[in-house]
Amino acid sequence: MSTAAGQRVTVHLEVNGLWREAVVEPRRTLADLLREDLDLTGTHLACETGVCGNCNVLLDGESVRACLMFAVQAEGRSLLTVEGLAADDGTLGDLQQAFHDHHGLQCGFCTPAMLLTAHEHLREHPDGGTDEQIREAISGVLCRCTGYEQIIASIRAAAEAGP
């Protein structure tokens, strides 16, 4: 799809508690809005076709593929990205700390999406649910490094530590 040169729209959305505004082409994806226009490069792209889940962000609390949405579809909505998980001084949140303590990451590329997806799961299952449920919750996010074992252990540990 090619857009008439110069055509731009303004998008307003809340990202990690702050209202942000950007002027973008209608075809700009939400992922590119975050990465290129808002300099939030923690949202990663590994396929751009909606399969790997590495671009997952939470839109009004629900995980979505940021590569599959247009930026304009997020107009007026509220977004949580990995940059919103730690305290302002950088102190890791509990889930992040659990990944740190249980070696839930290697290269770190899938990690933002894993954290957000796990965050959503733990909101729905504060006690973590069964291992099978954890596996299912993160099954839409591909990780090539860890073999998932230590990610599952991290999520389990975060659940056990409680909110």
Partner: protein, 813 residues
């Protein structure tokens, strides 16, 4: 010492207290120092970096696997607003030399194809534009006229007379052919009462990191310096090759290493993407970013894995004693040969596995076809060879009707036989193979699972057990790349690693590494732990940075499970120099004898006198600021550097009957898997999966577990799912994550990991490499376990991947 005595004398616990006073930090289960930035989304991968004035590139790949390029019309693309330049093979040929290669000969590879394309996806043009969207739009406007040529996709057809030639200048599609014979193989086969033989097929798959390969070129017309930020810069000491491609003096090439979201081999001496980004920047006169999208990564990143056809045989006695091994391999290398036949050199380092096999013949035909070229994938060819060997061993057990564990146990090299010289000449430095076997059998309660399997089988369920072993060679020298040739052009023998240590005036330690090291492994954690061990400081007080290539000492980077061993050696060397200087300064100030000083809690002090000590900060301030307090012959400052060379390597003999020592630090592992197969759906469920690895001294058990589990799951993908599929015109049919299935969290077993530690006598601290081991076992173990589960159907597994469709085909045949 907290070392326990295990079965057969194995040392099961970690060596936390070696003879000289104990280790405090090496061996500790510490959280990784790399983690926090990744957890906060501040990883700074290549695509996260923006330079001022940066343009973006996209590439156009060939839709044909073999075709002559008749014409390329770039005018429409050039007219698109926002396009800066469209670059074709002709433009490249005018400005740059071919890409570097370690095994090319007549096989010339350019950054962008000229005259003809040789595989589906080969780059035919690149667009530089203000924005990636525009660059991609412009690619669609390039009009390339192709004249399709007959394709050759099968290596056996490729070897026939009259087959279409991939490289006309070579005159043949057989790039290389050789047989190595070690010992009296024919005699041993003739004398042995028994043998098994199998045709085995290992298909093409790939490392497939989540982060693709990318680079940003930044040409400075004023100085002529080309800076390239790239998520690989292995082989710092080979970068002059890349400068030659760009036709610039090596001194004017500056590579800046950028951490990568995984490699698994796919970024090992990555050459094409950095070279292209550098050249595009020279053309545009401004920074240009090129990051592969997933399709480009799949189709045109050089680094897919082995694609091999085997005819292999094992000769043995009636009592199961192995005598001789014969391997004949036709390897489908695809259209180019960057690493030459190094992936078979690698296999020759441990071709007999952990077994006493005296006679070996190894034949290789490296064949060119119209597929993307092979590169490196975790295991670098030795993982394939291990699968072949373990398959033959299982077949031998079946032939003799003996237990699969028993036949292996009978042939294991004994703990008292090290260092063990294998028939090819490579040695295994140390090991306790029986000890690892006993530990894994105990870990799963093997007799229990044998009984369970038999009970399930009696109920008509399809439960199977696999038990396999593997050695894990680590730390290559460079001879495997050229010992194939009687008269090689270039015979390098270096594969060093360097480290620089600096203590700043406030006493903080900064370590600089000299190759691309951050690919998801734990270089900063390893280095911090080693520094902490040497100076007795807190590991998280150590800062680890990476030199760019203009400031770098020789380095080789991760690959071949070498990095931890080599960087530990380099850090140990630099530490020793630096500690010597600190001792001299402190001895002077404390009026003590240098030999009476020790490093303790961030200070240096007199042994047995707690009050007599100086903090590292005191020493550092003196070293930087108070010249007149220093011994008169001493320079100011507090830094040291060390380049650690391979500690144990020898040259091959002239006639190649002895390949020399080239991969000697050899770990060892056993895995046991219990699976249940659903004969109707072909689904494989895991009832139990256990691994025990011996990688010498463990630096960090937590990150080692991660490497083992991650590697095991990658091997699971190779065993059950992954394979590039081609149509009859050589087009890749599954060039996306939708169609190339990677293991998800639903596909993997719980894996329990155990460790033993048999330190290497030759490396710093006794460390052996361990990054590839997991993947060396899973293909063999899943073949064994599924074959066992399908025993009622009399299946022999000789081809990977073992897909659900394949299983159903067997059970319904």
């Amino acid at each position: 010492m907290t070392v326990e005595q295990g079965p057969n004398g194995a040392r099961i616990a970690r060596e936390t207290a070696p003879p000289q006073g104990g280790r405090r930090w090496i061996g500790k289960r510490l959280n990784r120092v790399e983690d926090p930035r990744f957890l906060r989304g501040q990883g700074r991968y290549i695509d996260d970096i923006k330079l001022p004035g940066m343009a973006h590139a996209a590439v156009l790949g060939s839709p044909h696997a073999h075709a002559r390029i008749v014409s390329i019309d770039t005018r429409a693309a050039e007219r698109l607003p926002g396009v800066i330049a469209v670059v074709t093979g002709e433009d490249v040929a005018a400005r740059a030399a071919p890409l570097p290669s370690f095994g090319a000969g007549e096989i010339v590879q350019d950054m962008i194809a000229t005259e003809k394309v040789r595989y589906h996806g080969e780059t035919v043009a690149a667009v530089i534009a203000e924005d990636r969207y525009v660059a991609e739009d412009a690619c669609e406007l390039i009009d390339v006229v192709y004249e399709p040529l007959p394709v050759v996709l099968d290596p056996f057809t490729a070897r026939e007379d009259g087959a279409p030639l991939v490289h006309e200048a070579l005159g043949s599609n057989t790039a290389y052919e050789r047989t190595f014979t070690f010992g009296a193989v024919d005699d041993a086969f003739a004398a042995a009462p028994r043998s098994v033989r199998a045709r085995l097929r290992w298909p093409r798959s790939t490392g497939m990191p989540m982060d693709t390969n990318g680079a940003i070129g930044d040409y400075d017309a004023g100085t002529g310096v080309v800076t390239i930020h790239a998520n690989s810069m292995n082989f710092t000491y080979f970068l002059w090759l890349l400068a030659a491609t760009l036709k610039i003096p090596a001194s004017k090439l500056r590579l800046v290493p950028v951490g990568a979201g995984g490699s698994f081999g796919s970024k090992f001496f990555m050459h094409k993407v950095p070279a292209l980004a550098g050249l595009l920047s020279m053309i545009a006169g401004r920074p240009v970013k090129y990051v592969e999208d997933r399709t480009a990564h799949i189709l045109s990143n050089d680094h897919a894995g082995s694609d091999r056809h085997y005819d292999a045989a094992l000769a043995f006695d009636d009592d199961g004693t192995f005598r001789a091994l014969r391997i004949d391999c036709v390897d489908d290398y695809g259209a180019y040969l960057q690493f030459g036949t190094g992936t078979h050199g690698n296999a020759l380092s441990q071709v007999v596995g952990p077994y006493r096999i005296q006679h070996v013949e190894y034949s290789l035909a490296a064949v060119l076809t119209n597929k993307n070229q092979q590169g490196a994938y975790r295991g670098f060819g030795a993982e394939v060879s291990n699968w072949v060997l373990e398959r033959l061993v299982d077949l031998a057990a079946r032939e003799l009707d003996v237990d699969r564990v028993e036949i292996r146990r009978r042939n294991l090299i004994g703990a008292d036989e090290f260092p063990y010289r294998t028939p090819t000449g490579n040695i295994y430095d140390s090991g306790n193979y029986q000890g690892v076997l006993e530990q894994v059998l105990e870990a799963v309660d093997y007799p229990h699972w044998v009984a369970e399997r038999d009970r399930a089988r009696a109920e008509g369920r399809h439960v199977g057990i696999g038990v396999v072993a593997s050695n894990e060679r680590s730390v290559f020298s460079s001879t495997e790349f050229w010992f194939w040739f009687d008269e090689p052009d270039f015979t390098p023998t270096s594969s060093p690693e360097s480290a620089s240590l600096q203590i700043d005036p406030t006493g903080r330690i900064v370590v600089t590494l000299h190759s691309q090291a951050q690919w998801g492994n734990s270089p900063e954690t390893v280095v911090s732990q080693v520094v902490a061990e040497e100076f007795d400081v807190e590991p998280d007080s150590v800062l680890v940075t990476y030199a760019d290539s203009q400031h770098a000492l020789p380095g080789t980077g991760p690959g071949g499970s070498r990095f931890t061993v080599m960087v530990a050696g380099a850090v140990a060397g630099a530490s020793s120099t630096l500690k010597q200087k600190i001792r001299r300064i402190a001895a002077d100030k404390l009026e003590a004898n240098e030999d009476d000083l020790e490093f303790r809690n961030g200070a240096v002090g007199v042994i047995g006198t707690p009050d007599a000590e100086l903090s590292l900060a005191d020493v550092a301030m003196t070293a930087y600021m108070f010249r007149l307090d220093l011994p008169p012959d001493m320079e100011s400052g507090l830094s040291a550097q060390s380049t650690y060379d391979h500690p144990l390597t020898t040259l091959p003999s002239g006639d190649r009957s002895d390949l020399g020592i080239f991969y000697p630090f050899v770990g060892h592992a056993w895995h046991i898997a219990v699976v249940e197969v659903d004969p109707e759906t072909g689904k494989v469920d895991f009832l139990r999966y256990a691994a025990v690895h011996d990688a010498g001294t463990v630096v960090n058990p937590q990150s080692l577990d991660g490497q083992i589990i991650g590697g095991t799951v990658q091997g699971l993908g190779t065993a059950l799912y992954e394979q590039y599929l081609y149509d009859d015109q050589g087009r890749v049919r599954n060039a996306s994550f939708e169609h190339y299935h990677l293991p998800s969290s639903m596909d993997v077993p719980r894996i329990t990991v155990g460790h033993q530690e048999t330190p290497s006598p030759y490396t710093a601290y006794g460390i052996k490499g361990a990054g590839e081991g997991g993947r060396m076992l899973t293909p063999a173990i899943l073949s064994a376990a599924i074959e066992d589960a399908l025993q009622p159907y009399g299946v022999t597994i000789t081809t990977l991947p073992i897909t659900a469709e394949q299983i159903v085909a067997w059970t319904t045949a």
